[in-house]
Each structure stands twice: as structure tokens, then as C-alpha cells.
């Protein structure tokens, strides 16, 4: 079995990848779940024909989703991941030695089962004794969690359509804030400002209405539409753009994209992204955007 997998990335753009094996293809209760062996990117998980992660570049997305956020949290003991059924975000969270418990609140049990069978490079994290899986609606899980239950919440949601749509709403972000401990941190994958600028901006606007400190970092994920990907980090006081100290950094020495230097650099936004995000924040943001000429602003 070989052929070409096609993702319709937007109405006007398609990515095609040659595959050599279909490892899994089944409709779950929620979506079409496919795992293919591709020639360019290795093993790949696609949900409803949208690439979620590939062996060749998932490290970029998962490292940059997790590490800038978790390094802003002095002691991330309890971490909640909303989504993250491939296990990649959990793998990165578990690098932090302070972590005692990771809860992965994934909608679709069949995604986890398929990844456990075919994507060991991410799903091996599910075997860690510190990890707990909770299947079901992520927003519902957060709504029922206790106040201050988590030191960090990582929102690893797919694009804002269908089942994932509530995870992009301000009400959900407010619920995430409620379940955070006082020194907690929230990070939300916030899409590509090339392809979905309104999404990147809406997430930042939502978080800024809730948290005193909101910063956006970015990375390049070649298999995602637009490739330039953003992550929006919110805290009560800590600045996520500050690099971690040597002990934290040494725990991350095996990373393949994240480096201490890149941690800092990833908060320096391209000019058009800086303008996009500065423009969306009203009066409070004008000063922020205006300061961009002097210090690294994001």
C-alpha cells in the first residue's frame, strides 16, 4: 500500500505526503483517526485528515508548547494537559524533575490507543507512573476540577473547529485560570499568524483579559499549515521570556529544538506578528506595542 496523503490546509492550499504504509485508519466516535508511515516525515497522526503530529517535527511543537511555559513556573508539581492524546506534550512535561503528576484530559480514547500502538516516540509517556489519563470533554474536566488544583495547564488542542471549539473560548480560559495555583502558568497553542491571524490574536486578547502577564513565543513546525506557530503563555507575575536557571536547563539538555538561548529568542516576534498582536489589545496594549522598539517585546 502506497499513495499520497493530502491535507487541505486551507481552501487554497494543500500539502501532499507520500506514504508507504497505513498503520491505522478507523472512525472513532468523534473523528477519523489515521496513522500513516510517510516517506518525508516518518510516522504521522492525522485526525479528520489534518496532521496532528509527525515523527520528524513533533519535537518542535511539543518542546515549545511545554518548556517556555513550565520554566515560568517555579515548582510545576501537578500539570494538566487538555488534549494531547498522542503523548508528546506529556513526554516534555515529564522532563521537568519537579513534576509529581500529569493529568492528560483527552477527548478520544481511540487516539490514545492508536498512538500507544504506533507512535511510541510520543506515547511512551503514557507508561510513566506519574501520568493519569482522563477521557472525555476537556472543558468539562476543567469545569469540575478544584480551584488551584494545578501548577500548570497546557492546552494542546487541534484547530478551533468542531469538538475543539470550546477550548478557544474566553470562558474556558477563565476556567483554566480558576484551577491554577497562585503561581501557576497557562499555555495555549495559538495557531499560525500567517494562516489564522484572527485565532492567534483572539487567544492573546482572551488571555490578556484574564492574566496580568501574557507573552507569545513561536517556533517553526514544517508539517503545519503556515509553519510559523505560536504559543501564548499567561501567568500572574512571572515573565516566561526569562530563561530558566542552569538546573532547569540541564533537565532539558536532550531537547532537539529548545535551547536556553532559543527560549529567550522565541519571544522575539517577527514584526508583522508583533503588530498583529499589539493592534488587538486596545489601550493597554498601545504602550506595550510602543515599547517594542527598545526591549524584546512579545
Amino acid at each position: 500500500v502506497t499513495g499520497w496523503f493530502e491535507e487541505q490546509q486551507t481552501a487554497d492550499m494543500r500539502l501532499q505526503l507520500r506514504y508507504t504504509r497505513i498503520l491505522h485508519r478507523q472512525r472513532s466516535r468523534y473523528q477519523d483517526v489515521a496513522i500513516l508511515e510517510t516517506a518525508q516525515f516518518g510516522r504521522m497522526l492525522a485526525l479528520d485528515n489534518v496532521i496532528m503530529c509527525t515523527e520528524a517535527d513533533e519535537f518542535v511543537y511539543h518542546e515549545m508548547l511545554v518548556h517556555p511555559a513550565l520554566c515560568a513556573c517555579p515548582r510545576p508539581r501537578r500539570v494538566l494537559i487538555v488534549g494531547g492524546g498522542d503523548g508528546g506534550a506529556a513526554r516534555e512535561v515529564l522532563r521537568h524533575p519537579q513534576v509529581e503528576e500529569v493529568v492528560v484530559a483527552e477527548l478520544d480514547e481511540e487516539v490514545v490507543a492508536a498512538c500507544r500502538e504506533h507512535l511510541p516516540f510520543t506515547a511512551a509517556a503514557f507508561d510513566d507512573p506519574r501520568l493519569r489519563l482522563r477521557f472525555g470533554d476537556g472543558a468539562g474536566f476543567v469545569a469540575q476540577a478544584e480551584d488551584g488544583a494545578f501548577d500548570a495547564v497546557v492546552v494542546d488542542a487541534p484547530d478551533p473547529v468542531g469538538h475543539a471549539l470550546p477550548l478557544f473560548q474566553p470562558a474556558f480560559h477563565a476556567a483554566c485560570r480558576r484551577v491554577l495555583a497562585p503561581h501557576g502558568v497557562l499555555v495555549v497553542q495559538s495557531d499560525s499568524p500567517f494562516v489564522m491571524p484572527a485565532v492567534t490574536r483572539a487567544i492573546r486578547t482572551s488571555l490578556r483579559s484574564l492574566f496580568p502577564v501574557v507573552r507569545t513565543c513561536w517556533a517553526v513546525v514544517p508539517s503545519y499549515a503556515g509553519a510559523l506557530w505560536t504559543f501564548t503563555v499567561a501567568t500572574e507575575a512571572a515573565d516566561p521570556a526569562l530563561p530558566p536557571g542552569a538546573p532547569r536547563a540541564s533537565a532539558l539538555a536532550a531537547c532537539r529544538y529548545w535551547r536556553r538561548e532559543l527560549h529567550v529568542a522565541s519571544f522575539a516576534l517577527p514584526a508583522f506578528v508583533d503588530r498583529l498582536l499589539g493592534a488587538g489589545e486596545g489601550a493597554g496594549a498601545a504602550g506595550h506595542a510602543g515599547a517594542g522598539g527598545g526591549a524584546a517585546s512579545s
Copy 2:
């Protein structure tokens, strides 16, 4: 006329873009020259079906090809661009107020003619009185130029195949060094370390055999295969990673990707790129790669 343009980015990966108009399509003496109006990226130049630039993201490539390099040159009065038939690199060079003359040494006169007609956002640079066009083989032009004739040489070549192949050889880089003034700077577009790691590494190795200072910066160009793109900058002494002073930076205030903060940040390489490039440089490089944990290395 509408349809889908397809670039076979690698043997295993294709990008398809919907187009609404074919503005130009003709075989020149050297290659197939096409300019299409695409729905996702606006107007696009493709040579032999490989995307050279698009209206939506050419600014990323051209700004990051030119500005980190030119800012490392105290007075870039005479600048040579090898390739650059769309005019985008020249447009960025001309932002630097010190520039008195830009020579664009482009192989294919028909590329320039088509861009002048259909890509004014880049080709308007050709109307600047400081610009001179020289058609023909870029390596031949450099071979015949006088010693020390240029303050900066910008190698804006397509992928290392066919006519462009000589522009990726150490002999060509040595010729570029010969035509540079003592405080001159050379920058070479050095492809994507995701898709063409051997090319990125070979260019760095070649420049390191010739210049005391070689640094690599990067940017994300969504329409290019791999998206993560590198630019390798070589000088006799100046460090290209240092940000420019306020007067230089203010001349670049209209940039859409480059910012002073991003200039610095773009030299912080992702870990896998840092390792790729460090590993390619033999004994001298081991110390360089080893220093990566402390200071920003690239």
C-alpha cells in the same frame, strides 16, 4: 483560468496552491518562467515549477537575507547581488542609506522582464537610479570583477541544481571573498536544514574555510520546502549577530519581519540545527558547538 499549481518540494512532499490567473508562462533560454496569481499567497514567481517568491511571504526571505548581513558592514556603499532577478533583495539593500550602487547579476533577462511586468512589489527596485542590472552567469561576473570592488555580496541563488550549482561551490565563495573590500560581508542563502541539511552544512563548512567569522541566522518562509530557512553570513571580523545601532535600525523601520530584537534572536539556532552545523566543522567546530550551552551560538 483557475487550477492548482503543484510544486514537487521533494520526492515525497508536494505543495499545491490554487491559482486564479496565469499572468506569465514562457520558457526562457534557461528555464520555465511562470507568474501566477494564487489565492493563498498572492502573486507568485516559479522557475521550473519551484516557488521563488510569493507576495505573501517574500518579505521574510528578502529581509532576512539582506539585513543581518548588511548591518554587519559599517558602510555598504557598493553591493553585489548574485541572482535576485525578482528585485526583492535589491529592494531591501536599497533601504540602507549608505548604499550608492547595487549591481544585480542575474542569469535570466526574461525573469527580470516578467517580474517588472507582474511583481511590482519586488521589481520596483529596478527603477532605482542606484541599481545596475548585469545579465549572465553570476559566477562569471564575480570572476571578472576587480579585487575589493564590493562592500557586500548577497548570494540569492535558487536550489543547488542545474545553472545554480556553481554558486554553491567553495571556488565561488573564494571568488566572492576576493571581490570584497576589507570590511566586507558575504551572505549566502543556505536552504532548509529540515529538508536539505547537507546543503546548509556544506555552505557553512565552505565559508568557514575562507572567513574568520561565520554565523548562521534563520527565518520561517511558509511557501518554501521545510519553511525553516537559513542564511549564512561571513565577515573578516564583525559579528553579524550584534544588533545595529539606532540610525541603521530606523532606516529599517518599515520592515515586516526584521526587527532589531529579531535580528539578535535569529542567530539563536534550534538545537538540532546547532548540532548539525557544529558537527560539520571538524576540530575547530567542536569547541564552538561545546560552547553552545553558555552563550548564544550560531
